[in-house]
């Protein structure tokens, strides 16, 4: 019943996008706008996504332009939002829903883990759930308690979910288009500290990198920094600083957290023989653990040193004035790299 937009048509489509610098917020908005225009089965609902355009204005103007039957405000209940999205997807619609912040997706945890993730497998592939769950994620904006969580580890551990996160406006557009077109449910993590990041849109005549691929965003030879979402910028800044110390840092933007792009990451680590993974979430059992464990499993004999994790501490996300002590910084990353025995 639902129409699938193919990878190619998306790539073509994106050539028609604006060429002046756009914010990530605008790129996401365009992606939804284009999907609503092309595919009548796409609907958007959630808390405040209607006339207000969401608390971050990502759905700005969509109710006005597409009507309340395509984009509307739901009652305030996250389990209800996900639960009804499941029913709509079973019917043949492609719901895009917003959880206002990571921590407010937790009331929907059962619906996501026990149904969104499992319906396709449960029904032997007969019932797919093409749902996109958009979540403004992570910290860096001085949010009060519960507004800065990074929830990725909960989702990536759950088989059946696809979890992606863009780090820039160009990716935000193409990845959200691909997520909407996907027949599988996608957790789409939007680094809220980057919503107002502007970028000249990259060469739009080339097809976009598929959502499930990692990108080498800076080449280097000594160390691979594995980053995603908000920490890509931190890794790039680190790489710049490291230049001064004559350290050549390769930076990878993972983009897809599940599945993990073993190929791209493996190739880089085989080249540099050292890697560190960077994220905001607490370290213990965080996504970085999976990255470190699997890369080590696969590339052990290429590694000159253990894979490091530079992450949030194992504490609840701090209050606004203290978050700077928690978030990974270039200095902390460089410090960590200096703990390696470099002359093995």
């Amino acid at each position: 019943m639902a129409k699938t937009t193919s990878q190619d048509s998306q790539a073509t489509k994106s050539t028609t996008q604006a060429v002046k610098p756009v914010t990530m917020a605008a790129a996401l908005n365009s992606a939804m706008r284009d999907a609503l225009t092309e595919d009548p089965t796409v609907v958007i609902f959630g808390e405040d996504v209607g006339p207000l355009g969401g608390v971050f204005r990502i759905t700005d103007g969509l109710t006005r332009d597409f009507g309340e039957e395509r984009v509307w405000d739901s009652p305030l209940a996250e389990s209800g939002i996900i639960g009804t999205a499941i029913g709509m997807a079973m019917y043949g619609l492609r719901p895009i829903v917003e959880m206002q912040f990571d921590a407010f997706s937790y009331p929907a945890f059962e619906q996501i883990v026990s149904h969104v993730a499992k319906m396709r497998n449960r029904t032997r592939g007969r019932v797919s759930l093409p749902i996109v769950i958009r979540i403004p994620t992570s910290g860096g904006i001085g949010g009060v308690e519960h507004h800065s969580d990074s929830s990725e580890a909960y989702w990536t551990h759950t088989p059946g979910l696809t979890v992606v996160t863009p780090s820039n406006p160009t990716d935000a557009y193409s990845m959200l288009r691909e997520a909407i077109a996907s027949d599988d449910p996608v957790i789409f993590l939007e680094p809220k500290s980057h919503y107002w990041m502007k970028e000249g849109v990259a060469d739009q005549s080339r097809p976009a990198l598929p959502m499930n691929k990692a990108a080498v965003v800076r080449e280097g030879t000594d160390v691979t920094l594995l980053s995603y979402g908000p920490t890509v910028a931190v890794a790039l800044k680190t790489a710049k600083l490291a230049e001064e110390e004559d350290l050549s840092v390769e930076v990878i933007d993972l983009r897809s957290l599940s599945p993990f792009d073993d190929e791209t990451v493996g190739a880089s680590v085989r080249k540099t023989s050292r890697a560190a993974v960077i994220h905001e979430a607490a370290q213990f059992g965080g996504y970085g653990a999976e990255v470190a464990a699997r890369v080590t499993e696969r590339e052990f004999y290429h590694l000159a040193a253990p894979i490091l994790r530079i992450t949030g501490a194992d504490i609840p996300f701090p209050a606004p004035l203290l978050e700077k002590y928690y978030l990974p910084t270039p200095e902390r990353i460089l410090n960590a790299l200096s703990t390696w025995e470099w002359e093995v």
Partner: protein
């Protein structure tokens, strides 16, 4: 036009006397107590009767095979046939059902073949049938979650101008979950064409309804959502059929959702692994057996001369066929393919998952006796 219905419904609490058309003794309820409703036509009553008898035979057979260990578990609906069959008989083929683990006889009556239906309880796959083919969602275990799926499905149909209705069963215990509340509330405000059939069988495993809520009636909740609420004798198939039919019609024609509480009783243990002697007396069970939904309809039909030996005979044959087919379905070894475990998790192939699949394949190829060894 907006999805949200901003009109306010008239506010009325349901009558605390359960609505009934045929009494426990099998007599038509006096006209003045019928609240303006008529009894369904005799052919409908015969259909309800036939379906209940056959379903009970089938259910009894499943329970027996479960005791023999052919199924991993089975929650019987014995005693609840009027609610189960009354509801699905009121449904059109194009309507969708969102059932729970309790509602196998409803799913079966909708036409899902036994082997597919019992996949989950036997343990060969979680859901064995194609939900789209039978317009019947998988039987849901996480309580109350399916009520939201039903509301979403109904809302999607409404948005698509598709004049169908959706029915979902909810247990009395499950009404305590937050999801039930959210489902009622979303359904109300979106005017989703969804009929909620609460089967109040008075127990959630061991917990009696009095410990579940202080509500006088679960149907009293409806008023808090601007939804019409009904309290029905859930052992009276005629009453269930009548109220559910009306609610489904209303739903199909833009009248929004309905909450219907069917008062009934679970005669069997919660599942085969339950021990009801720990939490309820057999006197209670006996008292409820006296209100049996099948017997009362049989008496009524008998009193109308609407059951003759030929009918009884044909129902008996159908019942035995159902039981036999059920036994055969469960005696056939299920086709188990461990490789299928990796097939359906995603619609596209993930290399890392294929690695895991291949590792299992290699393991099984290496040690053909692995199965026995690990048991």
């Amino acid at each position: 036009m907006s999805l949200t219905d901003e009109s306010r419904a008239p506010v009325e609490l349901p009558d605390p006397e359960p609505f009934s058309l045929i009494s426990a003794s099998g007599k038509a309820v006096p006209a003045k107590a019928r609240r303006g409703y008529n009894l369904p036509d005799l052919d409908i009553l015969q259909k309800l009767y036939r379906r209940m008898v056959v379903a009970r035979r089938w259910d009894t057979q499943v329970t027996a095979l479960t005791r023999q260990g052919r199924l991993s578990t089975y929650p019987s609906a014995r005693g609840q046939e009027a609610s189960e069959i009354g509801t699905v008989t009121a449904m059109r083929e194009t309507d969708w059902l969102f059932p729970t683990y309790r509602d196998s006889i409803a799913v079966w009556t909708r036409g899902v073949p036994t082997a597919e239906l019992l996949s989950g309880f036997r343990g060969d796959w979680h859901c064995g049938w194609d939900p789209k083919m039978h317009r019947t969602a998988p039987q849901t275990t996480p309580l109350a979650t399916q009520a939201l799926h039903a509301v979403g499905f109904g809302t999607a149909a409404k948005l698509s101008k598709d004049p169908i209705a959706v029915a979902t069963f909810i247990g009395d215990g499950a009404t305590s979950e937050g999801d039930t509340h959210e489902a009622f509330n979303f359904a109300g405000v979106w005017q989703s064409p969804t009929v909620f059939v609460i089967q109040n069988n008075q127990f959630a495993i061991s917990v009696p309804i009095a410990k579940q809520t202080r509500a006088r009636l679960l149907a009293d909740r409806a008023v808090g959502y601007g939804i019409p609420g009904y309290f029905v004798d859930g052992n009276d198939a005629a009453a269930v059929y009548t109220i559910v039919s009306e609610a489904l019609d209303r739903a199909r024609t833009g009248g929004g959702p309905t909450i219907i509480e069917c008062l009934t009783y679970r005669i069997e243990p919660h599942t085969n692994s339950d021990d009801p002697s720990r939490y309820r007396g057999s006197a209670d069970v006996e008292a409820w057996k006296a209100k049996d939904p099948i017997e009362r309809l049989e008496r009524y039909l008998d009193s109308k001369g609407a059951i003759d030996e030929a009918l009884k005979e044909s129902i008996a044959i159908e019942s035995e066929e159902a039981a036999t087919a059920m036994r055969e379905a469960m005696n056939a070894e299920p086709a188990l393919d461990p490789m299928e475990l990796f097939e359906h998790v995603y619609s596209s192939r993930r290399p890392a998952l294929l690695e895991q699949r291949d590792a299992l394949a290699a393991e099984l190829a290496d040690s053909p006796n692995a199965e026995e060894a690990s048991e």
